[in-house]
């Protein structure tokens, strides 16, 4: 009989998380993992019966860290319903606000949620431990006092473009409520320069362009050796712990595509070490509720989805549904986005050892290097004086879906409207994919799969913590 341990409250994630781990016979490694989201939010019920545009005020409040992504998904679905396309300025403004949130989230995750685990006393004696602990210890590391002002200053973009963050009403199906003046455009470019300086001095200790040009895993380690900067420090610790080999899930990656720059698609394992990349067919997405405290048919496509509570259901262990693509679990996030875009360094990291703690963290930070210069371009492309928002008229009835990339991966909103009111609103959030429970075929979710075989138990180093946090979970979105 294997021993079961429960890890919770699993903190430094957004929202509530509990892990249940069955240990192998030797009591030192994970034989099976169950991921429990112990909080239920009920937004899909709360939205039903509301007027469609009210979703713009409600859905950001699903999540305080992916708030804009939720707005963007709703705005996109409502735009589809109305048959409207925002004018170029409106699209650029929306994209800038979304990118600000996504990149700030990557920074928050790395500095405040993920890195403090490396200050753990279990690592005392490793050559990098003193440096990492001094820099990243929770609440008191020297990096905290540097990243918080940089993050706050970067969020001034949302002060200008969206009034505030989180929870803005600026993103509308017709574009953006905030028309940028030419004076504001100059100041926004200055904010981006300041943020770039932080990244280049503190995070990378190199130019964004040089980071993006690193071709493969060997070049990455050579680059990190002896270099100042927080990413190089992490890479030296990660190499010492072999984290480039830890944390692979199913090697099936899904992205909705972002910024008209990163493509949508699904990348799956092929024969003998190869992989295939295919177009994303959203009709292949379904949500399975066999092991969630929910009742109804086992699996439904989100456009027909239901969210009905059954807290006493046998064999259920979470409030999270299990999204599947063609009945298969899939991983989503920055790594998936970059693999589908063919980013050379990440393709190489994954070709060697599959997805890993290292690959997921590098993918996120590379997005900072990739997207900040794009944001500079988008700002320059804005034409003050031209329209930012078009008026929108919604039909009395209809169905639509909005698909966007949040920091943590693919986010979908499926809505249907009857007689001027929302009749159904179903959401699949990134962490719902990554932290899904088992489905009716008993296939574990991606994290559940990734944890199997890892060291666990009282003597174990915090490897499980690294893998869990490498996904950058957002549990409040998960259980919307």
């Amino acid at each position: 009989m294997s021993r079961r341990i429960v890890l919770g409250p699993f903190n430094r994630v957004e929202g509530d998380l509990e892990l249940s781990l069955d240990l192998a016979a030797d009591g030192r490694s994970v034989a099976a993992a169950r991921v429990n989201s112990p909080l239920f939010r009920g937004f899909e019920q709360i939205l039903v019966g509301r007027q469609p545009l009210d979703a713009l005020a409600i859905v950001p409040r699903i999540c305080g860290i992916c708030s804009v992504a939720q707005s963007a998904a709703a705005a996109q679905a409502l735009a589809q319903l109305a048959g409207v396309t925002p004018p170029p300025n409106g699209q650029l403004a929306q994209r800038l606000v979304q990118a600000t949130e996504n990149l700030a989230d990557h920074l928050t995750h790395f500095y405040l949620f993920f890195m403090p685990d490396f200050a753990h006393p279990a690592y005392a004696g490793r050559p990098w431990h003193a440096a990492v602990a001094g820099r990243f210890r929770a609440g008191s590391g020297s990096a905290v006092g540097e990243v918080l002002p940089a993050r706050a200053r970067f969020f001034h973009l949302t002060g200008f473009l969206a009034g505030r963050w989180p929870h803005t009403l600026a993103l509308q199906p017709g574009g953006s409520t905030k028309a940028m003046s030419s004076a504001e455009r100059i100041r926004l470019l200055a904010i981006l320069r300041e943020f770039r300086a932080f990244l280049e001095q503190t995070l990378f200790a190199d130019t964004l362009e040089a980071v993006l040009a690193l071709p493969d895993a060997d070049a990455l380690q050579a680059w990190a050796a002896g270099r100042a900067g927080d990413l190089p420090l992490f890479l030296r610790a990660a190499a010492d712990l072999g984290l480039e080999r830890v944390g692979s899930a199913y090697e099936r990656y899904l992205s909705c595509g972002a910024y008209e720059l990163l493509p949508a698609g699904i990348r799956q394992p092929g024969a003998a070490g190869t992989f295939t990349v295919d177009r994303l067919e959203t009709q292949k997405i379904s949500e399975d509720i066999r092991h969630a405290w929910l009742t109804g048919p086992d699996a439904l496509p989100p456009a027909q989805g239901e969210t009905l509570v059954d807290a006493d259901k046998a064999d259920a262990y979470t409030w999270c549904k299990a999204p599947r693509y063609a009945d298969q679990p899939a991983e989503t996030g920055a790594l998936a986005r970059q693999l589908l875009a063919g980013q050379p360094l990440l393709c190489d990291l994954v070709a060697r050892h599959g997805a890993s703690v290292t690959a997921r963290v590098v993918a996120r930070l590379l997005e900072l290097a990739l997207i900040v210069p794009q944001m500079e371009d988008w700002l320059r492309a804005i034409v003050p004086g031209e329209a930012f928002c078009l008026p929108v008229e919604l039909p009395d009835s209809g169905e639509a879906c909005g698909l966007v990339e949040a920091a943590r991966g693919s986010l979908g909103h499926w809505l249907s409207v009857r007689r001027g009111h929302l009749e159904r609103y179903q959401i699949i959030a990134p962490t719902t994919w990554n932290f899904s429970p088992r489905d009716r075929h008993d296939q574990p979710g991606p994290l559940e799969h990734a944890l199997v075989g890892l060291p666990a138990g009282p003597e174990a180093p915090p490897t499980v913590q690294h893998v869990v946090r490498s996904f950058d979970p957002c549990m409040v979105c998960t259980v919307h």
Binding site: F43, L56, R61, S67, G163, H167, L169, A311, A387, V476
Partner: protein
């Protein structure tokens, strides 16, 4: 540096975590340095602390039994009592117990209890949805009715009701200023408004300092999203009825909802989640907005609106219905 440290214990209920995310935007000093300078430290925070799992439960148990003293209990998120009163919509991970049970026990130990954000103060979206599907409530309110989890008669160790830092999300300054006020000299009931909100942010209206004031004065109203005009008449703005200093204390540098081009939806007020009309549309009766500015009799408002509309300068009238300035304020010719 004050001699005694004020220790803050933070728990997250049924919410979005956005109040913590907003708090981390505190400026100009980084949050932890700002608080440490005022003699305030976190005992534990679910998103920021080192302790996880067993260590976190041990710490929380010690706070509950009094062996680990703390001063302020900050709770972020609604209290979820469902389904069927079981509290299973939110259990504290690893403990198997409803989160609200932990909050009740810890509140009994705290000198001050802060409800951070409107969900925590009033109950959130579920409490404003027919049937309240999550059986949600605030710490001391069921929407606008005293009660909630702790009950109308609850008083914390310092003799105060729950301090309601209402807002969705909270402004980082509202939290930091309140904590620093507590650390400096405590807080009296007189420094709270009728709904338990600190006057340090709730004695203003969002309207005060609104950058669209000239449009408001002349009732030069926006007609569609992104228009520069006043958002009260058509687009649902409740800034003249909402208690908060959002137009005087900027968000994220220089922002506010009004500066972002959209209506104040009264997110510091109980019941804002279910206004009874579309959020971005002003309800009217016979062409007059049903929600009038606080302290303003309807007849005055109607008379004043009619007068000011008739006196609106062309510049203000035209600029109100576009997304950028089309008519600049006149410059006197020949001025040096």
């Amino acid at each position: 540096m004050p001699a005694a440290t004020v220790k803050v214990l933070w728990l997250q209920g049924g919410g979005c975590g956005g109040c913590t995310q907003s708090l981390l935007c505190h400026e100009p000093r980084p949050l932890f340095a700002e608080l440490a300078g005022a003699g305030i430290e976190f005992v534990w925070h679910p998103a920021l602390a080192a302790e996880s799992d067993h260590d976190a439960l041990t710490l929380l148990a010690a706070c509950t039994d009094g062996s680990r003293p703390f001063d302020v209990l900050c709770v972020e998120g609604a209290m979820l009592r469902g389904p069927g009163g079981s509290g299973r919509f939110q259990r504290l991970g690893g403990s198997g117990e409803a989160l609200h049970s932990w909050v009740s026990r810890l509140a009994a130990r705290a000198r001050w209890v802060l409800a951070v954000g409107s969900c925590t103060a009033w109950g959130g979206f579920s409490a404003n949805t027919p049937g309240n599907p999550l059986e949600a409530c605030g710490l001391q309110y069921d929407v606008d009715t005293p009660g909630g989890l702790l009950g109308a008669d609850f008083r914390s160790g310092a003799g105060l009701p729950v301090i309601n830092l209402a807002g969705c999300p909270v402004h980082p300054g509202w939290v930091v200023d309140t904590l620093e006020k507590l650390a400096l000299e405590g807080l009296t009931v007189d420094e709270l408004d009728e709904l338990g909100r600190p006057l340090l942010y709730a004695e203003q209206l969002v309207h005060h300092g609104c950058p669209r004031n000239e449009y408001y004065e002349f009732k030069a109203s926006a007609q569609k999203p992104a228009d520069l005009g006043c958002l009260m008449e058509n687009l649902g703005c409740k800034g003249t009825q909402t208690h908060a200093d959002c137009s005087l204390r900027p968000w994220n540098g220089q922002g506010s909802c009004l500066r972002g081009g959209y209506a104040c939806i009264a997110c510091t007020e109980p019941g804002f989640e279910a206004p009874g009309h579309a959020f971005q549309q002003t309800p009217k009766l016979a062409g007059i907005p049903t929600g009038l500015p606080v302290d303003m009799p309807k007849a005055w408002f109607v008379a004043l609106a009619a007068l000011s509309k008739s006196a609106t300068p062309k510049r203000v009238r035209e600029n109100a219905v576009g997304d950028h300035l089309r008519v600049r304020p006149a410059v006197k010719k020949g001025q040096k």
